[in-house]
């Protein structure tokens, strides 16, 4: 990007910051339509991230305190394939992420993450991956436990924070939490039932904490994982310039991002009553349905 965007083109109303997407959520998967290679394309992603980074640095040097959080500081890769297919991709992404000054976190199913190859171990040892999210299977069988413990100990020895997503009763029963090395470390648990039976007294929360740059395996960019695949909610793609993405965000024809950040989705009254009895995923589901049903 040769010249940075004029400030007024990406801001809406002070004093609120225009866009606060704290993370870049990247879904990488094998796409058979692309010769079974892992997508999205890393060359395009590197260019897109680089443009944003330069834009942001320019803002910092020229206009203090503005747009620091525009891009976020983490790239969160959800790898939906095995090490065999995904290792070169993770290696290259780690380089791209380090170059653009972001922190990299990785999320995989625990079964696929076991026994990482040497290349991945090296990335962990060099702290090129900051956090590692493991989706635990249910049940967490005794057969899986030794290899899982080995992986967790590897992460801890490399000072990479492990994060577990799964059933708490299952996890407690497994005995993993008695591991002395785990008790010596920082780690996070996300109980798998956390959204069930959750009954918000306020039906529609602000989306601020849920929004991110969500990049799917095609390279399409959305403001939220819950809206992925909906064309009218798309902000752009990594194959176009970052400037184009920013301009589209500022003047998005169908998505009131500022309202979503502050107040959450505006749902129909009848649905609000229904949603009062449900939880966050249901709320997102309804929002998605409304957008899909709306005329473009």
């Amino acid at each position: 990007m040769s010249t940075p965007l004029p400030l007024h083109s990406v801001t809406t109303q002070d004093p609120y910051p225009a866009w606060l997407f704290r993370e870049i959520n990247l879904i990488a998967a094998v796409e058979p339509s692309n010769g079974s290679s892992i997508q999205p394309d890393l060359t395009a992603l590197a260019r897109w991230l680089g443009e944003f980074q330069r834009w942001q640095a320019h803002q910092f040097l020229s206009e203090e305190n503005r747009y620091y959080l525009l891009l976020g500081r983490r790239v969160h890769l959800q790898l939906q394939c095995s090490w065999l297919e995904g290792t070169p991709y993770v290696q290259q992404l780690a380089q791209v992420v380090a170059r653009t000054g972001h922190a990299l976190t990785l999320r995989m199913s625990a079964e696929q993450a076991l026994h990482p190859p040497e290349e991945i171990k090296q990335l962990l040892q060099n702290r090129r991956i900051q956090k590692f999210l493991l989706n635990l299977p249910n049940p967490l069988t005794a057969q899986l436990l030794p290899a899982l413990t080995e992986l967790v100990e590897l992460l801890l020895s490399c000072r990479v924070m492990p994060i577990f997503l799964g059933d708490m009763a299952n996890l407690l029963q497994s005995g993993l939490l008695h591991n002395p090395r785990l008790n010596a470390a920082n780690f996070t648990l996300y109980p798998s039932q956390r959204h069930l039976d959750f009954q918000p007294s306020h039906p529609v929360d602000s989306c601020a904490t849920h929004l991110s740059w969500f990049i799917d395996s095609k390279g399409d960019i959305y403001p939220c994982g819950g809206l992925s695949g909906i064309r009218s909610a798309q902000l752009g793609t990594i194959f176009e310039s970052a400037e184009t993405t920013l301009q589209r965000m500022a003047n998005h024809p169908t998505l009131p991002l500022q309202d979503l950040i502050q107040h959450g989705p505006t749902l129909h009254t009848a649905q609000k009553n229904i949603i009062n009895r449900f939880n966050i995923p249901f709320k997102c589901l309804l929002h998605r349905k409304e957008i899909e049903a709306a005329p473009i």
């Binding site: 609120y16 910051p17 606060l20 503005r66 500081r73 000072r159 008695h178 002395p180 996070t188 904490t209």
Partner: protein, 353 residues
């Protein structure tokens, strides 16, 4: 500090951002936990049997409101307001008033840390969490572990978890462990159903800071080493005496490197000071362990990186010592000047060639 000129240029170009405005409203707490990094007690901050001389007990509501207003206009601050203590809910009405004010200013993520002592009665817990939700609270960080348990029993924590679930407030359960007291042991004391419906459980080890240094034996602590960087987890923290720090994990209880006080300066000015502090930029982007070598060179008897509990432990050690910070600052300036001189020489030679 073996940073190349190129690394220094990169450091200088990276803006610092803050995840939340954290207000540590009071140093008073109903509990007096042996592991409290702040050394809080019903009398305020007390360590080694003495009340800290330069520690104010409470930050005035007027100053908090002013900080909220000024913070709401800072683009580098994510609009999350986090109210902490001591135990902020010793004055629950004031907490509710501050949450509502933050909501009116456009903060969309309103969170708090508490030990949940107010949930002793399930009915009272329900009423307060409903009012918290109405005032805009989205999440509470609930501290519980072996050391909190004598002051706030697991039944009270269960009441709190249930009330938050019903009110639609998400909960981040915060646990600490040592060699002797594990996370599994704490979790076993809580209702499994509620545990499985908790939004998040954050686990960490107790470090040798604050009251833990005097109440726990050294064998109890875990040591993980001081490597690591913190640029992605910074918060703008205001402590009870009004000082503002870029962190709420230990540096906020030091006085070696001050950036400003909310009673005397605008928050934007303090953020500017933080962003232009060469030492803090090294801490956040390169890691505080970068200081070990120069400090050893300056004659300070520093331990090896691996011997520190974590990076916050080392950060807290360095920035609690004013002389050490002054020496480090001088050393850093000299190094920077030397590198600039070398760069100019290089450019002159290149252009001559």
């Amino acid at each position: 500090m073996t940073l190349s000129l190129a690394q220094r240029v990169t450091l200088a170009n990276k803006p610092l951002g803050f995840n939340a405005l954290v207000v540590e409203r009071t140093s008073r707490c109903n509990a007096r936990c042996a592991i409290c990094y702040q050394g809080s007690s019903p009398q305020g901050k007390v360590q080694k049997g003495k009340k800290s001389a330069n520690d104010a007990k409470d930050l005035s509501p007027e100053l908090i409101r002013r900080a909220l207003l000024e913070g709401s206009r800072l683009d580098s601050l994510n609009k999350r307001f986090h109210l902490a203590g001591g135990e902020a809910f010793l004055d629950a009405e004031l907490c509710l008033e501050l949450f509502a004010y933050a909501q009116s200013l456009g903060y969309y993520d309103i969170t708090t840390t508490t030990n949940g002592f107010w949930a002793k009665s399930p009915d009272k817990a329900r009423i307060l969490t409903r009012r918290m939700r109405e005032a805009g609270v989205t999440n509470i960080e609930l501290s519980t572990d072996h050391w909190h348990a004598p002051f706030v029993q697991p039944t009270t924590i269960n009441n709190c978890l249930r009330a938050c679930l019903e009110a639609g407030i998400s909960v981040n359960l915060r646990l600490l462990a040592t060699h002797e007291h594990t996370h599994a042991a704490t979790l076993a004391t809580l209702d499994p159903y509620l545990l499985n419906h908790t939004t998040r459980i954050t686990c960490g080890p107790v470090f040798a800071v604050g009251r833990a240094t005097e109440q726990l034996s050294t064998e109890e602590f875990f040591r993980r080493g001081a490597e690591g960087r913190c640029f992605a987890v910074l918060n703008l923290a205001i402590v009870p005496n009004g000082n503002v720090f870029p962190c709420c994990a230990g540096m906020d209880h030091t006085d070696g490197l001050l950036f400003g006080n909310i009673a005397e300066q605008h928050l934007a000015e303090i953020v500017h000071n933080i962003n232009h502090s060469p030492l803090f930029r090294v801490v956040s982007y390169a890691g505080v362990s970068r200081f070990l070598q120069p400090l050893q060179h300056l004659g300070y008897p520093m331990k090896t990186s691996e011997e520190y509990g974590n990076m916050c432990d080392l950060c807290s050690t360095i920035f609690s010592n004013r002389q050490m910070v002054a020496d480090l600052s001088r050393y850093n300036s000299q190094l920077e000047a030397e590198q600039v001189r070398m760069a100019i020489e290089y450019l002159q030679q290149s252009s001559a060639a």
